[in-house]
Symmetry: C3
């Protein structure tokens, strides 16, 4: 039987070239899965609309709440000063959630 578990989805939107760094950071905190979407962006933290689609990357990962906090704090401390990057989290209910308890 499938198990429903309340977890957190953390979203990171960053320049495309930062992807390897962010995936490494996610793994360090125990995240075991993610999806990456090519997006355009513009924002207060410096992400610019691009002439072509997909210049920026949106990385989503689903983790335990305390892991979500740790990931976001790590990103803020190590990337906010020098990079155009934003991060936010939301509640999600995952089926077979025991797979995501990173």
């Amino acid at each position: 039987m499938a198990l429903k578990v309340p977890l957190r989805k953390v979203t990171v939107v960053c320049e495309r070239l930062l992807r390897p760094d962010i995936l490494k950071l996610l793994k360090k905190h125990g995240a075991t899965g993610w999806t990456i979407t090519a997006v355009e962006g513009e924002g207060s933290r410096g992400i610019r609309a691009s002439d072509f689609e997909g210049r920026n990357s949106q990385i989503d990962t689903i983790v335990a709440p305390e892991t979500a906090d740790a990931i976001m704090t790590d990103i803020a401390e190590n990337y906010f000063a020098d990079w155009a990057i934003i991060t936010y989290a939301m509640d999600v209910e995952v089926l077979r959630g025991e797979k995501y308890l990173g």
Copy 2:
């Protein structure tokens, strides 16, 4: 006047070739709309990062809470054993939500 209705957004991330099956499953449960996004993914349920973008598909649909549960359970029972697929749900507030009461 626009009506705000609390509903659930169900997200399914799967291999691209599963898209027709999943859309058929959503329709069977009464979902009347969805968006599909090309994504890359890697995860504990076997979804792999691909050499090119968009090998996987993210399918989002907005439905009533009980429909969300039925969709996720159906996916778990019929696809988790053999496919790299994940599914999760979250609360959303939809304007003119009466259109989504599938």
Copy 3:
């Protein structure tokens, strides 16, 4: 130190050609950032699945709750009658959220 702030993410899914109008509307309400994702869609409000990917646009912006309501109401009043467009909102927790208080 990073600051966590509860805000709202508003999502708009519309035909690609409506993007400039929607971005202008978001700016009018004080939104200072957004991401745009190319999506396929089909739905009760008339958005059609396309022969190629990315015919529709998903626009996400993070704003204060009252701004989220104002944006959604504006979209409903000015676009629902004539366009295939949907909009919904969800709670998000943003790091360094003071940047998004549009």
